[in-house]
């Protein structure tokens, strides 16, 4: 081994690169750590200044997130039977009793239905459209592709008022279907363009071989093209999910009850029993989990997806 190489980084370069990565990780992860720890703090610790790094962990935030509570007088508290569960105990320590479940569970479920529903629809329609654009002679192909892309040329919220009026007329306001359609409409341009790139890279010969081997065009599509587009489909799905999962503005505007998603709901927790930061943080922490799991599951594909086509084989 020679001590000098033009491709292997030197020890110093490695050290510098490593430090930069660590610094970047600290900057981006710190807010997440903050949210995560705040969720486990007591309300007093959460607003302590200077912030407490070491604190006594408490599940109060999580209990408050999932419950609604009523304040009672010490006499009334005395009169009650002893708490049956650990979370009742936490609540009673604050001179309160549990009045019922909160809406967080429902809102979370709405997010799952709307987020994954619109992701599925975007990817499903996007794959079919991208395949057609990639393989067939579509009249006005370039104009159509530009038209699809042009829906991205302004912030979606710029058309909030027309959409609001449209939804009201069509009875789509505050419905799951309405939100799925809306997020699909926003995501579909990304899906079509991204997937078209992936499908363009799959040589036509594979489908042609399948056609020759006695399969129909559709069989060739789902047996030969789809498995090879898996990378593209996975990374497109992640991007679509991240958008519809995190979307806030339209959710605030168009949903209030039945179909309200978690993002507009979480801030409303603040108002319920004073400024309950641990509950807000707990809601945010749980809200991060699905996208994180989804991304981790598909991360191999995602990494390949981002660098796909960068190197000519």
């Amino acid at each position: 081994m020679s001590s000098y190489s033009i491709t292997e980084p030197s020890a110093r370069q490695k050290w510098v690169a490593g430090s930069l990565v660590i610094a970047y990780a600290v900057i981006t992860l710190l807010p997440l750590v903050w949210i995560l720890t705040t969720g486990f703090k007591s309300p007093n610790d959460a607003i302590a200044y200077p912030p407490k790094v070491v604190f006594e962990p408490s599940l109060e935030g999580y209990v408050n997130l999932f419950t609604t509570r009523t304040r009672v007088t010490p006499e009334q508290l005395e009169a009650l039977p002893p708490p049956a569960t650990w979370y009742e105990e936490i609540v009673r320590d604050r001179d309160m009793v549990i009045a019922g479940p909160s809406r967080y569970g429902e809102r979370f479920l709405n997010s799952v239905i709307i987020g994954f529903g619109s992701t599925f629809l975007s990817v499903f329609l996007g794959t079919l459209a991208a395949y057609a654009f990639s393989r067939f002679k579509v009249p006005l192909k370039d104009d159509l592709l530009f038209f699809i892309l042009s829906t991205r040329m302004m912030p979606p919220i710029a058309v909030a008022i027309p959409i609001f009026l449209m939804f009201r007329t069509l009875g789509l306001s505050d419905t799951h279907l309405g939100m799925i359609l809306l997020y699909t409409a926003v995501n579909i341009s990304l899906a079509v363009w991204l997937l078209k790139g992936f499908i363009d890279e799959i040589p036509r010969e594979y489908e042609e071989a399948a056609l020759i081997d006695g399969y129909t065009r559709f069989q060739a599509f789902y047996k030969v093209v789809l498995p090879q587009a898996a990378t593209g489909i996975a990374s497109t799905a992640i991007f679509c999910l991240i958008f519809s999962w995190n979307e806030y503005a339209f959710a605030v505007l168009l949903t209030s009850g039945t179909a309200q998603t978690a993002p507009p709901f979480i801030p409303t927790i603040i108002g319920v029993g004073g400024q309950d930061w641990p509950a807000v943080a707990a809601g945010a922490t749980l809200f991060l989990v699905p996208v994180m799991v989804f991304t981790v599951l598909l991360r191999k594909h995602l990494l390949r997806g981002i660098t796909f086509g960068a190197v000519r084989k």
Partner: protein, 365 residues
């Protein structure tokens, strides 16, 4: 197996005509070469026979049945792609069995068939490997396996050796030819390599700019080219062209060039104007007493023969002569042409003039 008849086949892509009204017939069991430079329409022709491209007009008969507008899956032919197009998400065994599965063949029978084919091709030990890591030769064999496993009516091959290294190519060419002889399957093979076409083909169609220039056996195409394009494209080094102006009559068999009589096979048509005297390098010999003089520019040693580049009053020539004859650059030598092998061409159209040499060939060219 089947014979394939192509009648007035034409393909246009927008304003561009890829194939202009081709007609030819491929006999049952023939190894048939579509030869030409890139962009000449040979691959488009092959893809139309296979059903991957629909013709703008014309008919394709496979085994007597008109299939021109039928989808590929209904034509019962196999196709070997230049880049092999093995399904990357399947292993070798699945790749080979895929055409059988589409027909709904029972599993035990599929297994038997795949085993038989892999024995023929010598790929039994790689059946369970993914196709990603295979060498070029093995990929080629797997692609062939996928083609032959189904006993199709005909094989289409699109430059199947093009993606292989030179050393492998030779061996695969032999294997291919041996496989063809064993199965006796009608094969249509596209190549731009004239050596490959000559070496392997029973019949060759030479195409240029979407037009069939000549159709015949390798010998006929080499010895009796129908056009200057064919004469130039086939053979390495290619045919020598000596341009001259003059007049020839039906029945004449020599022409005067630089005060020397040069013989050629007896013409069957008159011509007046710019002509080309075409002679293959191996039909030129160097003799001191011949009247047609030239100067040696260079000699390339090729083992048993050598290629001598010469400058004459009619331009540069290449001669292929035995390598034991000593030639030095700068030397002046006489050239002797073997007149019975000469073809005269119309310089303007490139068409060969009819003579006693090529009359039978040009008639159906």
């Amino acid at each position: 197996m089947a014979e394939i008849v192509i009648r007035n086949l034409r393909k246009e892509f927008g304003d561009f005509t890829a194939v202009q009204s081709s007609s030819f017939k491929i006999e049952d069991g023939e190894f048939f070469m579509l030869l030409g430079p890139s962009g000449c329409g040979k691959t488009t022709t092959l893809r139309m026979i296979a059903g991957l491209e629909l013709p703008t007009s014309g008919e394709i008969y496979i085994d007597g049945e008109e299939v021109g507008q039928k989808p590929a899956s209904k034509r019962d032919i196999a196709f070997v792609f230049q880049m092999f197009a093995l399904y990357p998400h399947m292993n070798v065994r699945k790749n080979i069995s895929y055409p059988l599965i589409s027909q709904g063949m029972p599993k035990s029978q599929v297994k038997e068939k795949v085993g038989e084919v892999s024995r023929i091709l010598g790929i039994e030990d790689i059946l369970d490997r993914p196709v990603g890591g295979l060498s070029g030769g093995d990929r080629q064999r797997v692609a062939l396996g996928r083609a032959i496993v189904r006993d199709p009516k005909a094989f289409m091959m699109d430059e199947p050796l093009g993606a292989l290294d030179a050393e492998f190519r030779e061996r695969m060419a032999e294997e291919l030819r041996a496989l063809h002889d064993r199965m006796n399957a009608t094969t249509v093979y596209v190549t731009h390599d004239q050596l490959e076409a000559m070496q392997m083909g029973d019949k060759i169609v030479v195409m240029n700019h979407g037009v069939i220039e000549q159709f015949g056996t390798p010998q006929d195409i080499y010895d009796k080219p129908a056009s200057m394009f064919v004469a130039d494209f086939i053979g390495s080094p290619s045919m020598n062209f000596l341009r001259f102006h003059g007049e020839v009559h039906a029945g004449s068999s020599s022409v005067q060039m630089h005060h020397e009589d040069l013989a050629f096979p007896m013409l069957q048509e008159p011509f007046e104007g710019d002509m080309v005297f075409g002679i293959r390098p191996e039909h030129i010999s160097l003799t001191d007493n011949a009247g047609f003089r030239s100067e040696v520019l260079a000699a390339e040693y090729l083992g048993t023969t050598q290629i001598v580049t010469l400058r004459s009053a009619s331009g540069e020539l290449k001669a292929r002569i035995p390598s034991d004859k000593k030639v030095r650059a700068g030397e002046h030598v006489g050239l002797d042409f073997n007149g019975s092998t000469v073809t005269l061409f119309d310089n303007q159209s490139g068409r060969a003039l009819r003579s006693s040499l090529n009359e039978g060939v040009l008639a159906h060219g």
